[in-house]
Subunit: 344 residues, 2 copies
Amino acid sequence: LTANQRGDKSKSRLLVLGDGGWGTAIALTLCSAGHDVRLWSHESDYAAEMKSTRLNRKFLPGVTLPEGLTISSEVDKIGEEVDAIFVVIPTQFLRQTVTRLKSTLPRSVPLISCSKGIERNTLLLPTDILRQSLTRERITVLSGPSHAEEVSRRLPTTVVAASHDLVDAVFVQNLFMNTRLRVYTSRDFRGVELGGAVKNVIAIAAGISDGLGFGDNSRAAIVTRGLVEITRLGVALGAKKETFSGLSGMGDLITTCTSRHSRNWTVGYRVGRGEKLSDILASTTTVAEGVETSRSVFELNKSVGVEMPISREVYAVLHENKSAKEAVGSLMSRTAKHESEDLV
Amino acid sequence: LTANQRGDKSKSRLLVLGDGGWGTAIALTLCSAGHDVRLWSHESDYAAEMKSTRLNRKFLPGVTLPEGLTISSEVDKIGEEVDAIFVVIPTQFLRQTVTRLKSTLPRSVPLISCSKGIERNTLLLPTDILRQSLTRERITVLSGPSHAEEVSRRLPTTVVAASHDLVDAVFVQNLFMNTRLRVYTSRDFRGVELGGAVKNVIAIAAGISDGLGFGDNSRAAIVTRGLVEITRLGVALGAKKETFSGLSGMGDLITTCTSRHSRNWTVGYRVGRGEKLSDILASTTTVAEGVETSRSVFELNKSVGVEMPISREVYAVLHENKSAKEAVGSLMSRTAKHESEDLV
């Protein structure tokens, strides 16, 4: 390990792959911590625009990109002489993007995976994709309740850095941590990663409930019982139960389900109001990962077979033309349950 | 046990003590389930008003009280020939109220405790107070994310009925459960009761954060880490950890922290905006239990000694004149932590 990798508060050279809101907010935070940061965009025109305007108009409007931040769409040498790489690419584009950059990415430096989702068809999570495409083992997952615009405005935020090897998680903690961003470490990277992916399905359910005109009681029930389902799936896939009570589980779920900024909540809300999914998807340019994730979770759970009634109803509403009202009826008329035995 | 106490879906004679919003919503729900319900108010004038107007103007405005609902402030015979008693009195008035009614309350019927809080000075919870004042053992706790106005509008809601003896919890489940109100049972009455009490302290913290102009990330952190503290305290006091991940823990906490209807959130919000606690309390007639509970939790934790940094800062802001900004500073500048080990 170099001094930087040990997490000394010295200057590191860091590469952030992905010019979305979260990638940009991460880059800004690392810049203000005094590191030497490169932000990579897959589009050369957009990279040129960001370079000249010092704004990320599409994904993080209103925030000035500091002069110290290097912006590039360069493919051949972008990874040269970096101490760590943050990967912040939407899950469905992750494999093709890192494969394209593979030759420039140094093999020995830490990778930090910040994508949230499950890959279509393969049903793989971002760290699995990175491991396969880049032949890496040591990957840290960064997740938690962290709207990009709030992080870039330096509003207090907490996240989790999770890695099988705690040294890597502590390295990320040290890169970032300041009085506005608290980073907790964890060893359960699988649980942290799953929480970030599956919460988007529950956020759609919360949106549907709000779109139907239901209230805080309904939403609290969906979030609470939704976390029970996520935990069941996670434990069946080898994650630790406690992780889902943490920032990357419950914390991120709460934000996604109660914030009107959330793209997934919005899709659900519009479905609850009676719009067709195809019309909603046609009318928006941003990615609501939960639509795809609801399908992946359904497929993933075929082999595991745990009880996930809310996710099941979201799948039925989005992909089987079940009406939102009928779905609520199915949920509320289930047999009476005992809570505690039911929690795992 | 009578047929009614066994939970057969026949008509029970039920007494609801307390004319607040939640007591009234419970009475209405029991009425529509076909039971014979008496709602008791401690004020004879107000009981007379409710009887003649069929409205609970102060505590559940806009909702019609059905003709079938008996309303009374009578003290001597109100408890005669009832099959079960719901106690929905604010915690600080609970002891004096049930002591006053003691002679009329039959000793053998189930009591259902719906109050949330910790008694000043004694640091006792509602079921302890009932046990002491009425010499009862078998008490069921009813709790969960349940804004009264939403329940009375029949918006989908979930709650927990918890009793050491599961028969009692199932009895309550059967009294209530319908397609708009799901009742889960639990054996951990202490955990269910503690969750409902301590959440109000965390709701004040969430309000302070919002009042300071912070965002969703901050609130999610407070709710998530707040639940960790509640769980720690609960486990130290003999409750089960899982209970706090359920509807009466996490579920109720989410609602109280994210809803602008919440009185405790509102107190915190005004503190965060810079108002003095004494001015806030002077300007409102409703009870924000969390102000008192923050003191009780502080006292209660003296003997137990678990780490409760958020509750500690709420106490300091409300009762030791610490500024809200300074409190946030203290929270965000704590030493770096590992999440999972830290969760209990």
